[in-house]
Amino acid sequence: MITLKINGQSRQIEADPDTPLLWALRDDLNLTGTKFGCGRALCGACTVHIDGDAERSCSIMVGDAAGKSITTIEGLSGDVAKAVTDAWIKAAVPQCGYCQPGFVMAVTSVLGANRNQTREAVLSQITNLCRCGTYDAIRTAVGFAVADLNPQGQPNKESVR
């Protein structure tokens, strides 16, 4: 038995410690918003937050995730998440949509760490892949989210990590 802290709840799963977190989420806990894309941390479709940081759950083992606070797209909450989700919908980013929860998780993590960042600074930290090539809309959406979180538009350079 491994105990995982997921979306604020304690969940127990019967799994080998070297099971990728992605599959524990999808198969054992039925949290299918986290997607399988490559299995090698190359595409970001499986991005979740572990203690607030964006991590690729296909390459994190449940044994290493135990005891840490894990957030999936289903458990995303707070004003940063709302700003990013609203921005994604306003910019109508998704096409096939399969990679998009991963993008939303990645951008939310970057802005959650510091909401006073320029659009370009946020974008430079996003390495997820989208096969539909929704990148123009992603840039627009990140711009919306940045403007929403920092209406003065005066990024505080000191606080950029």
Partner: protein, 756 residues
């Protein structure tokens, strides 16, 4: 089949709604079904059907049936948009649902588009062939999503069905209130009298659905509340929040998971496997023809089981072909010239060989490509004594039922196919071997649903690839610098022959020329009086399939690069050169292409190419006609230390009329980036029958960082609606290649681009 044919004939006689396009033009024989008369959506208790496309659901929502799969092209939203417009409803009062798999929803357009005729010419032969194909495809009931046909297929019938539904609702209201229909007001799903009496559609629906439809002349598509303006896509919120369900998200009670592995070499077959005993959660191993699968209680346990198994493959019949052998075969075929067989001359005029003038000759090539949909191949199947249920993203419900029935040995009526969202299609999910394999695996676990998932490596290895190709193009330039003769010869296998053989057991290809092999080079909008456009069909045994824009992705690159080479040789500006060639044709297609080119030229004049210090920069132009739409692209590129960076793309699109402009722009951007992945990185190397790339590190796709800014301008010509989903893909490679030439003077004739 007989019943379907009779129903359709009855329908044609009973058809009440006439589309404007049906009354005029050559499209009349391409029968348009308007969803009243022949087939009606089944309506249960508390529901009311208004024909084949629209019904009122129990919760009061209008449902519009979509016989196409939603794979990112936005067809669910387009259906909602048109139904809401026609029924004068707000967008949230309508939802899209998958249409039943029924012959009524057959899609003949993509097959008609594949006929080896000039679609701009009209004659008895063409019209008879279209008529015949239309009949045959409808008789079979072949439903399919592809060839950029979704909107072309369903827009008019949905508009007609909505108009008919509104008509019967209004008549029902007139009857209920005892007033003339013309005195009623319609707004927000209610029909009201001047004196304040009012009824919701839901209250009128039952009576309305019993009224006989009348003949209504449908006005031509024009800007309305949503039409020509757009509507927020219905699938955007669920996809953003991670609640949209894809095939891989299927969860059935007691479901097992299978991890699949294929023979490392193409053509290799399964020989033997040993699975260690007592692996946790592992339920068994399934031996397939060219694969093996381990089934377990979770996918990770299935993967672990597969990794711990020893599998032996029989390579007696494995291909020992490498990419270089394929290109050598192409070279040999082209060198053989006119005596090579099978060779098809698909478009010719005058005498290209006899033309005189300065000769320009070039050879181009492009590699095999994978689809690499973000959602890897997968399917969930439940096989019981009563039949088979399948949950999977696919691009043809009809073929899925056919293939599953054959694989499970049950009648097609015993097969149910459930279609969630597709995590990308691009043509990959038109080929249904992955569903067949999932059914074969599930058959071994009767009455238990089994989900089979391809790892990324398996997804890349078990693809049907965009074929590699090679083309020899020669022209003679007359005194005016324009080609007095042009010969275009492409060596490439026939995707359609291979697809047909896989899709329909026992079907034999090779009887007809495959137009898709030369799409993008045939029936050009340029004036080429002496021309010969030829396909040298060379099949080296590598499985090939439909890949976004199909033959256009090859031929538009070869052809538009060659046109650029001709303009450079003639010393004429590339915009001016193309304009002269279009004028030399002068037909409708040339005029549409010219209108697009004129906008590109204006943008070019207004926006200079900027060059950063230490960089070389250039702009390239390309024109495409693809699935009845016209696209022009300008690519601005920069070369720094040998690296090509595409900074900005300006595209103009004429798809006739943009029903949903924001989505037209989104689709163009998507298709351009898809083509750019191929132009800059895309290559599936084959080594001794092995597919080399295994993941996104060795099969690179475009990243956010490298994606250009793409500006799209819509130029409605008012012509019949053309395709949208694929049409941006072909033109980006030639635009970028021509820009590289402008920047460096180097002509790159091989994809992906490499400045060495």
């Amino acid at each position: 089949m007989t019943a379907a044919r009779i129903a359709r004939r009855t329908f044609l006689i009973a058809a009440g709604v006439v589309g404007g396009g049906l009354l005029v033009g050559t499209g009349a024989l391409v029968a348009r079904l308007h969803g009243i008369g022949g087939y009606r959506l089944p309506a249960g208790e508390g529901e009311a059907s208004f024909g084949a496309w629209i019904k009122l659901a129990r919760d009061g929502t209008i449902e519009v049936a979509v016989p196409h799969q939603e794979m990112g092209q936005g067809i669910y939203s387009l259906a909602v948009l048109l139904a809401a417009e026609g029924l004068r409803l707000p967008a949230d009062a309508v939802r899209a649902v998958q249409a039943p798999i029924n012959p009524y929803f057959a899609n003949p357009i993509m097959v008609i588009d594949g006929l080896p005729f000039n679609e701009h010419a009209s004659g008895l032969v063409q019209e008879s062939a279209k008529w015949t194909v239309d009949k045959v495809i409808r008789a079979f009931g072949l439903s399919a999503t592809g060839g950029s046909t979704s909107t072309r297929h369903i827009a008019e019938p949905i508009r007609a069905c909505a108009a008919s539904a509104l008509d019967v609702l209004t008549r029902a209201a007139a009857e209920k209130f005892g007033v003339a229909a013309g005195e009623l007001k319609i707004a927000d799903g209610r029909i009201s009298t001047a004196d304040g009496r009012s009824a919701a559609y839901a209250e009128l629906a039952d009576a309305a659905s019993r009224l006989s439809p009348r003949t209504i002349e449908l006005p031509p598509l024009a800007e309305g509340v949503f039409v020509g303006k757009g509507m927020p896509r219905v699938d955007v919120p669920p996809k953003t929040r991670g609640v949209a369900a894809y095939g891989i998200d299927t969860r059935q009670p007691g479901q097992l998971y299978a991890a699949i592995r294929h023979s490392p070499r193409l053509g290799g077959v399964f020989k033997s496997a040993s699975l260690p005993a007592d692996l946790p959660g592992v339920r068994g191993i399934v031996e397939g023809g060219d694969y093996v699968a381990v089934v377990a209680t979770s996918y990770s346990k299935a993967v672990a089981g597969l990794e711990k198994s020893t599998v032996v493959w029989d390579d007696s019949y494995a291909l020992s072909v490498s990419s270089k052998d394929v290109f050598a075969a192409y070279r040999a075929a082209l060198d053989k010239g006119a005596s090579y067989k099978p060779r098809w001359v698909i478009d010719s005029a005058g005498d290209a060989a006899a033309a005189k003038g300065r000769e320009v000759a070039a050879t181009y090539d492009a590699p095999f490509l994978a689809h690499a949909t973000m959602e890897p191949m997968n399917a969930t199947a439940l096989v019981t004594d009563g039949g088979v249920k399948v949950w999977a993203g696919h691009q043809s419900g009809y073929l899925a039922k056919l293939r599953v029935a054959a694989a499970a040995g049950v009648p097609t009526d015993a097969v149910e196919v459930f279609t969630p969202y597709l995590g990308g299609g691009f043509g990959r999910r038109a080929d249904l071997d992955y569903i067949v394999k999932a059914v074969e695996i599930a058959r071994k676990f009767k009455s238990t649903p089994v989900q089979t998932i391809w790892s990324r490596a398996e997804d890349l290895r078990d693809d049907v690839y965009r074929p590699a190709a090679m083309a020899d193009v020669t022209a003679k330039l007359g005194d005016d610098g324009l080609p007095s003769g042009l010969t275009y010869r492409i060596a490439v296998p026939s995707t359609t022959d291979q697809f047909t053989a896989r899709a329909i057991p026992g079907a034999k290809g090779g009887l007809l020329p495959d137009r898709s092999t030369v799409d993008g080079a045939v029936f050009s909008f340029y004036g080429l009086q002496n021309r010969s456009i030829e396909n040298f069909s060379v099949d080296a045994g590598i499985p090939v399939g439909y890949w976004r824009s199909v033959g256009h992705s090859l031929n538009n690159f070869f052809f538009e690069t060659f046109i650029d080479e001709l303009s450079a040789t003639a010393g004429i500006d590339p915009f001016d050169y193309r304009a002269r060639l279009l004028d030399a044709n002068g037909g409708e297609a040339a005029q549409r292409a010219k209108a697009v080119l004129t906008r590109l030229a204006r943008f070019n004049a207004d926006n200079k190419v900027t060059v950063a210090s230490g960089a070389k920069a250039g702009r390239g132009v390309a024109l495409s006609e693809c699935f009845h739409s016209f696209v022009g692209q300008l690519a601005d590129i920069e070369v720094v230390a040998g690296n090509i960076r595409v900074k900005r793309v300006f595209a103009v699109v004429d798809c006739g009329f943009a029903i949903d402009p924001p989505n037209v722009i989104a689709q163009l951007r998507s298709a351009i980036n898809f083509g750019l992945s191929a132009a800059l990185y895309g290559k599936v190397e084959i080594d001794n029958g092995k597919i080399v790339p295994e993941n996104f590190d060795t099969y690179q796709i475009l990243t956010l960082e490298d994606a250009p800014e793409i500006v799209v301008e819509i130029a409605n010509s008012g012509a019949a609606i053309g395709g949208i989903g694929e049409i941006g893909t072909p033109g980006i490679a030639p635009a970028v290649g021509n820009a590289i030439f402008a920047a460096t003077g180097k002509r790159l004739r091989s994809l992906p681009f490499d400045l060495g």
